[in-house]
């Protein structure tokens, strides 16, 4: 499948992935992540269930301390 990840086109062999699988493939190992699929917030406890499909727009934001 082909998705839009943080405004970049990315291809994956699988036809669909959970957020947890996608984060593992992309090596996002951080704890504080905000994730949206097609503009909808995905809460942390839904990362194992939320499915990313071909054509989806995914936003991942890694929060770091400081301000």
């Amino acid at each position: 499948m082909k998705i839009n990840l943080n405004n970049k086109s990315e291809s994956f062999e699988k036809e669909q992935l959970t957020i947890t699988e996608l984060l593992a493939l992309k090596n996002y190992t951080f704890k504080m992540l905000v994730v949206k699929i097609n503009g909808e917030l995905v809460r942390r406890h839904e990362f194992d269930k939320a499915i990313v499909r071909d054509g989806d727009d995914v936003m991942v934001l890694h929060l770091v301390t400081g301000g």
Partner: protein, 202 residues
């Protein structure tokens, strides 16, 4: 002529309210920039007091050490622009406070220090106040690397910063870089508020 245009913008901004969550390096500097621009009302919240360690980057003065940040910031804003109405809340914001204090604001600025708090306000605004513009500051520790600072847009969520540099003992947050990000946030707020601004002579 530019004086006239700035005054016109200031008059236009008077009807707007901006919520600022946190009054540290991001919040204090962002609030001051918005007050100078003429935003009519600012809703500020923080539970902390001004310490000597804050003065390397936050908009406070040496003679304000020991005072509540929200009271010191309100005073500083009013010395700059007495036309700004400042609602100051001395509290550690939780989910329900964010909904109560900021639902009626036109734009919300996330200006917390801790990543957990940043997560909390993003989740709260996106799920409980959907559609409300939220401008967050993520990644501004250290110095240099000005070119890595950017704005990123994800519907109503606007992200300012480098998204990577985390504060640590060896990488403190310093005035220039946090000031840049605070002003990027203020700039994004103005961009939202001035979307329908039409100068009189055009």
């Amino acid at each position: 002529m530019s004086f006239a245009r700035a005054a016109e913008i200031s008059a236009y901004l008077k009807k707007y309210t901006v919520g600022i969550a946190g009054c540290g390096g991001l919040g204090s500097n962002c609030a001051v920039a918005l007050a100078r621009a003429g935003v009519g009302k600012l809703v500020i919240a923080d539970y902390d007091i001004v310490t000597n360690h804050n003065l390397n980057r936050q908009y406070y003065f040496h003679d304000q050490i020991g005072r509540l940040k929200v009271h010191a910031l309100r005073e500083n804003i009013q010395r700059i622009n007495p036309d700004v109405s400042v609602k100051a809340f001395d509290l550690k914001l939780c989910t329900s406070d964010i909904v109560d204090l900021y639902s009626k604001c036109d734009v919300i600025v996330e200006a917390f220090d801790k990543a957990e708090m940043k997560y909390m306000i993003i989740e709260t605004v996106l799920s409980r106040i959907p559609g409300k513009p939220l401008v967050v500051g993520v990644g501004m520790a250290g110095w240099g690397s000005t070119n890595l600072l950017h704005s990123r847009y994800s519907e109503n969520l606007i992200i300012c910063g480098d998204e990577t540099s985390e504060v640590s003992d060896s990488l403190p947050v310093l005035a220039p870089r946090v000031g840049i990000v605070a002003h990027m946030q203020a700039n994004e707020v103005l961009n939202i508020l001035l979307k329908e601004f039409k100068p009189v002579d055009e």
